[in-house]
């Protein structure tokens, strides 16, 4: 109780609130930009937070995470595009409402229910912390191992469009995560003699590469939907009234959000649909749902904010992230020296409460800002992407360099960027890959630890049995719901590419097997077993794709039919996206030659003017403002700009990339 109160006072310290406020603003912005979400936002912030006090860093990170699910309603309602993966269901009724001229009502109802859901989630989290100690103590190596395996299964099964592809993505993540020094023996696996790969690629780089870059090129490729401008809209109050009229629905959906959020692996992508179908099943009058019923906005929005509180439970107590953004949150914890687990509810209890309070405040702040400044904030959806994209890229590069001041990180960033773009284009689950990557070392260690302490008997311990039943129950239940409709259509043009891509993916496990099979078995057993499994799964996927491509009549068998479901991705715009990706490589080369500040100015101007010559004034102003901001950041946080080859010839001042001294 004492910590509960002291955290409360700490929260209202001015600097603390400032960081929380800054984080919230950033969270609002990344939520509004369609496609970007908490994962990309957090990846951008992480390189800067670890020079801060832990409590400030936490406030900032929570600030970024909490309001993304509030502000993502703007594009959902105004453009019919989900702002984050968690607001897909909001589009169903939100967009029709806005077409009927009731955008203001839809938005205010959404913000209001987001607020309620978010605060409810924080409340549930603070209660469950109370009962956490016995739960954590009951989870030995065996239970933890099982929990992770089941979480991975759920992530794999449910975050991708196709069951087998999701699981495979997970295992590929585990394989990539096993690169570096083997935790048991210290043998170096797949490092090609470089020091960079010994500890593996930093998680922030992987997050930025897998999420931020693909979303940016995706946006560029979509050329931007036309957003409806909010002008003199009325009905703000009506939306608030709607929420209070449906208070019971808000409560039910918030509870659903909390529970689903707390199940590792489910989090982000499905919770809004579950709430939405709950609404459909429980309401008497369903005639308007899908055509502009305000309840269709209230249900998913209260659920997707409440899920944040729920999702923090496994994250804080077991270090098992439920979604992509929780992976990065955990990465941030590690950076500022906080280890999830028992300490979060004992010695670091004040920090835990601080996070809960921050979560509640950030939700209130986010919703308040959204309602109060809706017409101004909504203008962000009007900004053209080709102006936004280069700014984001410059920020990402700056963030990347400041993690380790290591040029190899750019290679890692662009490498994972390519993986992310192709994964997105060909319908492979990126959250599954990221979570697999993050948990890999833990899985390997726990498998040895469990074996050493329990052998196989861990499976018969009571908690284990409960876990197994819970997991398979949820997966079956949700799979049935999720795969009712299949998008295996015959009109896809790029099936061949998608088949080739499976072959490309096969290279990783095969190469890995050939390179590490000579190591001690304690270093090679884990990655090689994963590789063998992934080769099997990839082969299955390959043949099913061939079967579907040639329309063999094997398709009538139920198992083949099941595996075949959604095995191709429909909206694949790989070629254009790859072209944009190449421009990032050009930017990197410029960085390497002339250093970061000059390269950025060239890149921003070239990128914008290439798209529209008339925008040269905008591009010059933007590049200048951005430089000033980066100079300020660099000065305040003693961050260094990447210095190019030119710096070896001429002594550059610090603001052009020279030494800080």
């Amino acid at each position: 109780m004492e910590q509960f109160v002291s955290a409360f006072f700490q929260l209202f310290e001015l600097t603390h609130l400032l960081f929380l406020f800054g984080g919230t603003l950033l969270g609002l912005v990344v939520g509004i930009l369609p496609g970007l979400g908490g994962t990309s936002g957090l990846a951008l912030v992480l390189p800067f937070v670890y020079s801060l006090e832990p409590s400030y860093a936490l406030a900032m990170m929570i600030g970024v995470l909490a309001p993304t699910t509030t502000s993502d309603t703007f594009p959902a309602v105004l453009m019919g595009i989900p702002g984050t993966a968690g607001s897909q269901a909001t589009v169903m009724d939100g967009f029709p409402l806005s077409k009927k001229g009731m955008a203001a009502r839809a938005l205010s109802a959404a913000f209001c229910s987001s607020l309620m859901g978010g605060v409810f989630g924080a409340f549930i989290l603070s209660i469950s912390i109370y009962y956490a100690i016995p739960i954590i103590m009951a989870f030995g190596f065996g239970e933890q191992f099982l929990l992770i395996i089941l979480a991975l299964l759920m992530v794999g099964a449910l975050t991708g469009e196709n069951f087998i592809k999701g699981i495979t993505a997970c295992i590929l993540g585990l394989i990539i995560g096993s690169i570096g020094s083997a935790p048991i023996t210290g043998d170096l696996r797949f490092t090609f003699g470089t020091l960079y790969l010994v500890e593996g690629v930093p998680i922030v780089i992987v997050g930025l590469g897998l999420f931020a870059l693909p979303e940016i090129v995706g946006l560029l490729d979509s050329k931007g939907a036309i957003a409806k401008a909010l002008k003199n809209e009325k009905g703000w109050f009506r939306g608030v009234k709607d929420v209070f009229k449906n208070w019971f629905l808000v409560l039910r959906c918030s509870s659903i959000g909390c529970i689903v959020g707390a199940l590792p692996g489910l989090g982000g992508t499905v919770v809004d649909w579950i709430a939405y179908s709950h609404l459909k099943q429980t309401s008497k009058d369903t005639s308007d749902i899908g055509k502009g019923d305000v309840r269709g906005v209230i249900a998913p929005e209260s659920a997707n904010n409440a899920k944040e509180g729920g999702a923090l439970i496994p994250t804080l107590l077991f270090g098992i992230p439920g979604s992509g953004n929780k992976v990065l949150l955990l990465g941030g914890f590690i950076l500022i020296g906080i280890e999830p687990g028992l300490e979060m509810v004992t010695t670091h209890l004040d920090l835990t409460y601080l996070m809960i309070w921050s979560l509640a405040i950030a939700n209130i702040l986010g919703a308040g800002l959204c309602i109060g400044f809706a017409s101004h904030i909504s203008k962000l959806t009007l900004v053209r992407y080709y102006i936004l994209a280069p700014i984001m890229i410059v920020l990402i590069f700056f963030a990347t360099f400041n993690i380790n001041r290591d040029w190899y990180d750019f290679v890692g960033l662009l490498g994972f960027g390519l993986i992310g773009i192709t994964f997105k284009a060909f319908g492979w689950s990126r959250p599954a890959l990221l979570i697999g990557f993050f948990l890999s070392t833990k899985v390997e260690l726990l498998s040895y630890q469990t074996q050493a302490v329990y052998g196989l008997t861990f499976l018969t311990r009571p908690v284990s049995i409960i876990l197994i039943i819970l997991c398979f129950g949820t997966i079956l239940l949700l799979l049935r719901q999720k795969f009712k409709q299949s998008n295996t259509s015959s009109s896809l043009k790029n099936k061949k590419n998608q088949i080739y891509y499976v072959l490309v993916l096969l290279i990783l496990p095969l190469l890995m097997i050939s390179m590490i099979s000579s190591l001690d078995y304690r270093a090679s057993l884990y990655p090689i077993s994963l590789c063998v499994i992934s080769v099997l799964l990839l082969t299955i996927i390959f043949f099913v794709k061939i079967i579907e491509y040639n329309k063999y009549h094997l398709l009538k068998y139920p198992i083949v039919k099941f595996v075949n479901m959604n095995i191709y991705e429909q909206n694949s715009g790989f070629n254009n996206q790859f072209f944009y990706y190449l421009s990032f490589i050009g930017y990197l080369i410029m960085n390497f030659i002339v250093g970061f500040p000059i390269a950025s100015v060239i890149f921003i101007n070239a990128f914008i003017i290439f798209h529209d010559k008339r925008d040269y004034k905008i591009s010059i102003i933007i590049s200048f403002i951005l430089l000033v901001i980066l100079w300020f950041l660099s000065y305040m946080l003693t961050l260094q700009f990447p210095n190019g080859l030119i710096g070896l010839l001429i002594d550059m001042p610090w603001w052009l990339g020279g030494d800080l001294n």
Binding site: Y50, S51, P54, I136, M137, G140, F141, S181, P183, I184, T185, G186, D187, L195, V198, E199, I334, L335, I336, G337, I338, E339, G341, L342, E343, T347, N404, R405, T441, E444, L445, Y448, Q449, A452, V453, D520, R522, T638, L648, L660, N661
Partner: protein, 358 residues
């Protein structure tokens, strides 16, 4: 090549002009390279020292701490070796893991640690303890020696945790079996859940987490590593004055004094693990007058009343080592004799580890 020439010129310059000039850092920025992430022990150590050092160095320079984590501390250490100028504007924050990387012959090491000039060493000490249902009374390990399986946590054999294997071997706990991949806090949690039998912690965690449980009767002390002074005398740890040191336990178990190869190995291990647990070093080839200025500043700092008041709480109860004798300790810690290496490899082999000290 370019950097090398600059270094050479800078070195010459320092040598020819600065040798007689008074060392003054006013207006300069000193970079303190810490090869670990923020929030770790070495980071805390340097952050604590930083303001005092600014106060006592001539010219009160700004000191900036630069964290370069990665590669098991090798990345930041190699960076320091490559980039540090030997003119007093670069300091290295060193810890046991940095030393162990050198001592065990890690092939990725590119830093010449034993030639660095130590300014200040901060000792730490290890406490070993077990659950009260596993032994009859504190400090009596006879029951553990007879037990078939005694599990304990071990990060990796390529870290300082390697010494646990040697220690348990020498005090005759035959059933000792390491559970790999457990960080110190992970091992503590597993110990509390009852999954492992032996655990060890440093001073800070010992006071905060272990002592309260000892008072409740749930945990019993086994021994401490013991504090080694400049003459090689081993004394008990003031935090657990009743607990025997490793050498006392060795004598009790083996019936003879700790001597010969075992004593030699113990001195090396104690130097790396305990005496030079955290340290502050200057790059190799730093001129003697600059080293002296730093050591003088450190001496003044240790006697600062404000420092004294806070140090015990932040750094632990052990006296800091300043000056010449620090150099001998770092050398002993970083260069293991062939006999010591042979001993370590023997216990590694015995426990079926493929890792070898080179």
């Amino acid at each position: 090549m370019y950097r090398f020439i600059i270094l050479l010129l800078a070195g010459l310059f320092v040598f020819s002009f600065n040798a007689h000039a008074k060392v003054d850092f006013s207006g300069k920025t000193i970079t303190w390279v810490v090869p670990f992430k923020e929030g770790g022990g070495t980071s805390r150590f340097s952050r604590f020292i930083q303001p005092f050092l600014t106060k006592y160095l001539p010219g009160n320079p700004t000191i900036k701490i630069m964290h370069i984590p990665g590669g098991g501390a090798i990345k930041g250490s190699n960076y320091f070796q490559k980039n540090a100028k030997p003119d007093g504007t670069y300091i290295f924050g060193c810890s046991t893991s940095v030393i162990v990387n050198v001592a065990t012959g890690n092939p990725l090491v590119n830093y010449n640690l034993s030639a660095y000039k130590p300014v200040l060493l901060l000792p730490q000490n290890t406490h070993w303890f077990t659950r009260s249902d596993l032994i009859d009374e504190a400090h009596d390990i006879s029951k553990l020696q007879k037990r078939k399986l005694v599990l304990y946590g071990l990060k990796t054999p390529a870290s300082a945790d390697l010494f646990h294997i040697w220690v348990f071997d020498k005090i005759g706990i035959k059933g000792a079996k390491p559970i790999p991949g457990l960080s110190s806090s992970g091992a503590w949690q597993a110990f509390q859940r009852g999954e492992i039998h032996l655990n060890s912690q440093g001073a800070a965690k010992y006071i905060k987490n272990v002592k309260p449980q000892i008072e409740k009767g749930k945990i019993l002390d086994i021994m401490t590593l013991g504090l080694v002074d400049a003459n090689g005398n081993i004394s008990r740890n003031p935090l657990a004055p009743n607990a025997p040191t490793f050498s006392e336990m060795y004598e009790k178990v083996n019936g003879k004094k700790l001597s010969g190869d075992d004593l030699e190995a113990f001195y090396s291990i104690a130097a790396a693990w305990s005496q030079a647990s955290k340290s502050m070093l200057l790059p190799e080839n730093t001129p003697d007058d600059i080293v002296k200025v730093y050591r003088d500043a450190a001496k003044k700092m240790v006697n600062d009343s404000d420092f004294k008041a806070k140090a015990t709480k932040v750094l632990g109860p052990y006296p800091l080592t300043v000056g010449e004798e620090a150099g001998a300790i770092i050398k002993k810690a970083a260069i293991f004799s062939d006999n010591t290496k042979k001993q370590l490899n023997k216990v590694l082999k015995k426990h079926k580890f493929t890792y070898r000290v080179k």
